[in-house]
């Protein structure tokens, strides 16, 4: 076993552990830590596709939305079957993966043929189209959405249901982020990582070299989308116990994911957690210091970062530690 391969996971997992411990021990910090772990998790999931391929999926939030629907449908329809017990949640997670995974297969097979701006526009189209299909055809409750807090209480009792949405939902998010980090590392260190790097630098050249770019693109896309579905299922469905189409298909969530990935450093393992923490904390502080004006201050900062530091925090840090003993901890 060459454990040294897994050293870069140490700072990432330490980060998640610290988040959990601060939330658990300091009173009143749990909500903030939950928000931070959500941002780290979406960054980690989105990075697998956006960071590694350089394709900008502007409709990424659609996968989170479908995951949310997966969990919501499971709870809203199966809550009366008593012997299922906690199995309802498991089925919810399975449905979340299936639904977001299936959509990603469909989108991937079709839209991944497009490149650059055309791909970005096509994915916005998928996101909006899906939202209006649900609203227009009155699918899954249409624009009224699904509210299932009553069903959750009925299935598990008030105590467990409360614990599920105020504690376990957030722990699941951290757990998903941790698995996503492991998968990211395996991708980066594996054959797929080399293929995707070649693809990101020059797709034509990669093709000529005999790399099956389509295959690797789709693998990264489906993996990233499934994690998004899982995050939606826990951070939105279990935590909030409702789902409304205008909320879960909101494009600004995609933009938040992009900011996190770019801030931390696209394609790096440590980037999403660094980006997620910086983004989450600065958003939180701005909301506290200048309530109502946080976007006014945030927008120019984002523009400044894009223009001045396009490779992100970890990207710059990586160059600094090259050749030192820290090198094997940072990718």
């Amino acid at each position: 076993m060459r454990l040294v391969k897994y050293y870069p996971l140490i700072p990432v997992y330490l980060g998640y552990l610290v988040l959990f411990l601060i939330g658990k021990t300091l009173p009143g910090m749990w909500q903030l830590m939950a928000m931070l772990s959500f941002y780290c998790a979406v960054g980690q999931a989105f990075n697998i596709f956006l960071g590694m391929t350089g394709y900008v999926d502007f409709g990424y939030v659609a996968f989170m939305a479908l995951g949310t629907y997966g969990m919501a449908l499971s709870i809203a329809h199966l809550y009366q079957i008593e012997w299922l017990g906690i199995g309802i949640i498991v089925i919810g997670f399975v449905l979340a993966i299936l639904m977001s995974g299936l959509l990603s297969v469909a989108v991937g097979a079709v839209a991944l043929r497009l490149r650059g701006a055309y791909f970005a526009i096509a994915t916005i189209g998928v996101n909006e189209g899906f939202r209006y299909l649900i609203e227009g055809a009155k699918l899954w409750g249409g624009s009224e959405g699904i509210i299932f807090s009553k069903q959750l209480t009925e299935a598990f009792g008030r105590g467990v249901a409360n614990k599920l949405s105020t504690f376990w939902a957030d722990v699941f998010v951290l757990f998903i982020a941790a698995i996503a980090a492991l998968v990211t590392l395996c991708f980066i260190r594996g054959k797929i990582g080399y293929a995707l790097t070649a693809l990101r630098e020059d797709e034509e050249a990669a093709k000529v070299m005999g790399i099956n770019v389509t295959k690797y693109k789709i693998i990264a896309f489906i993996t990233s989308a499934s994690f998004a579905g899982l995050i939606g299922a826990t951070a939105w469905a279990l935590k909030l116990t409702h789902v409304f189409p205008p909320e879960v298909f909101e494009i600004s969530y995609t933009v938040e994911c992009i900011i996190i990935v770019l801030l931390g450093g696209a394609g790096t393992l440590l980037g999403p957690i660094v980006g997620g923490l910086i983004y989450g904390l600065s958003k939180y502080w701005l909301t506290v210091i200048v309530p109502g004006f946080q976007l006014l201050i945030f927008a120019p900062i984002i523009i400044l970062i894009i223009v001045a530091f396009p490779e992100g925090v970890v990207g710059m840090f990586k160059r600094r530690v090259r050749g030192t003993s820290l090198e094997k901890f940072v990718i």
Partner: protein, 295 residues
Amino acid sequence: MIWNQLAGNLTQGLILGGVYGMATMGLSLIFGVLRVVNVGHGAFIMVGAFAALWLFTALGITPIVAIPIALIIGIALGFVFFYLVMKKLVGAPELTSLLATFAMGILLEEVVKLIFGTEYRGYNWDVGRVDLSVTVLPWAKIYAFLGSVAIAVLLYLWFNKTRAGTAVRSVVEDSEGARVCGVNVGWVYALSFAIGIGLTVASGVLLTMFIPVGINPYMGGPYTLKAFVIAVLGGLASPYGAFFGGLIFGLIENGSYTLFALLPGAEPFALTRFLSFVILLVILLIKPTGLLGAK
């Protein structure tokens, strides 16, 4: 009965479509020259709408006169954003330019919110109406349509009859080749971005004739999405394509609304939106150069 209604709605759709087309020409021009999708497009339309509102209610300037004023404001805004931000992002990965234009949009929205607040506003420019038997059209909307056509024609003439326009076209064709032939490509980027933003802001003035009480800092989002569909219909990189794409989109939007309203138990408005994105995807896959574009 239904045919009358359909004919009426299609007429309205054509009029609105002309304005949609004009509102998308800036997006296509910027994409054609800089290869950047302006995700903050709708926010610039919103700026134009507020300019029209303020000029009309505070200074009594009619929207027709407001169009050139908005165009100048937009061109100035375009130059400022180009030299502060976009100049460094031309040719960079999509990720950065998409995020930068989105952030510009947020910035504009928040600045306008700071000045005007978030309530819905509107104004009424009443210059009579004309009865077409199938529908009644206010003259204001007809003026907006004629204004759009006039601007499209002027842009066409500028492209084809002036040196600057020819330089822009050469950069659209092949920026390397244009550079070799002595075209100042950096200046063409700046000029095209500024004119693209100028057109977009001016189109915001025209759109206010269709939304009597819909002016709000966050009104731009739906227009950004519509502009994407329209731009793709027209081939994404061609401003005239965008104009005709707008006409087609206006017809489809209003026509399909009439038909979807006949379906029992459906929400016609949402289905219309759904249809527009289906069209977007189909065209991107089958003919990404647009309905009118070359092969």
